[in-house]
């Protein structure tokens, strides 16, 4: 990563009295021989090769938070981890995404789960579609021409200000910049899925943000 690499970042966290033991999972595009030792020194629980599969990430998280993976799977039905069912049946979803291949993959994933969708090719069109059509949820690409996902989210949240409603917005991002996730949440999004979008990960995130306990957040 530019500016400060992952190891430096973890070192900085370890020096912070607030989070000396926070579990850290590294993602790397090329594993070098010295990596294992540095990970041990810094107390990094796992070092995953990118693109990391959802199942590997999940395993790494379960292991790193100290839950025995086998007992966790035994106690909690697997459907909780990779739920592909929406909270209240089929949803009508707005896909804000400029690339047609990405649109095609996202549409397919949603249709498989029984959802319907409308596609907007940029942020401006997404805001327009939101004004003219009723949706249950928005998938928002962050990087788009005309108006990006952050601006479109801000415009949609501004429109909602009077109505007291807040449509769930899930960011779709190819994870290019440090702090992407924080920026998405700060911009008013509720969920976050990294590209390439995997059907299971997308549907699990949709289930999470539409779960009853999340709908008021």
């Amino acid at each position: 990563m530019p500016g400060m690499d992952g190891y430096e970042f973890v070192q900085a966290i370890r020096n912070e009295s607030r989070w000396p033991d926070v579990p850290v999972i590294m993602l790397t595009s090329a594993r070098r021989t010295e990596d294992a030792e540095r990970c041990r020194e810094l107390g990094i629980k796992a070092n995953l090769l990118k693109p990391a599969k959802q199942s590997r990430i999940l395993d790494a998280i379960i292991t790193s938070v100290g839950v025995d993976a086998i007992s966790a799977k035994h106690d909690a039905p697997e459907v909780d981890l990779v739920s592909t069912q929406a909270a209240d049946g089929p949803l009508h979803i707005l896909i804000a995404e400029d690339n047609e291949v990405n649109q095609k993959f996202a549409l397919r994933a949603l249709k498989k789960a029984g959802h319907t969708a409308t596609v907007a090719n940029n942020g401006l069109k997404a805001v327009e579609a939101f004004a003219n059509e009723r949706f249950d949820l928005i998938l928002m690409d962050v990087q788009m021409p005309e108006m990006d996902g952050y601006e479109a989210t801000a415009a949609i949240r501004a429109r909602e200000a009077d109505s007291g409603t807040a449509i769930p917005i899930i960011a779709l991002t190819a994870h290019a910049m440090k702090g992407d996730r924080e920026r998405c949440f700060a911009a008013g999004m509720n969920g976050y899925v990294t590209k390439p979008v995997k059907t299971k990960a997308l549907l699990a995130e949709i289930a999470r943000v539409t779960a009853p306990s999340e709908s008021v957040a």
Binding site: S29, V101, Q143, A176, K195, P196
Partner: protein, 117 residues
């Protein structure tokens, strides 16, 4: 470049035997890639770093759907340099990405051809 152009297992898991869908998607990739590569090149030639990284970013997210690790990483490299306004070595990287995209689409075509047999 010894790595496979795409992770077959991962792609097939996502595609779930929907070969028609894959074929259409590969056609789109073949249609879109040359224009995006041309935009990256134009950005490098004119010193337009935004055009470079935005086009590289689109290529990256597009090839990611096909579990195409090497092309994804190459596009990511160009995007990262473009964001840092570093366009000096960009031309050679785009040539590399272009041949990797050709290798990727040929491999995807072979996969589709085998599936039809």
């Amino acid at each position: 470049m010894s790595a496979e152009p795409f992770d077959k297992e991962e792609l097939l898991e996502e595609i779930d035997d929907d070969w028609e869908f894959l074929e259409e998607s590969v056609e789109m990739l073949k249609e879109d890639a040359p224009g995006l590569l041309a935009q990256v090149r134009a950005g490098i030639d004119t010193g337009d770093a935004d055009m470079v990284w935005q086009s590289a970013h689109t290529i990256k997210s597009m090839v990611g759907n096909f579990a195409a690790g090497p092309a994804f990483e190459m596009a990511h490299g160009i995007e990262t340099r473009g964001r840092a306004n570093d366009l000096d070595t960009g031309g050679a990287q785009v040539d590399q990405l272009e041949s990797e995209l050709q290798r990727l689409t040929s491999a995807l075509d072979s996969l589709l051809a085998n599936a039809r047999d």
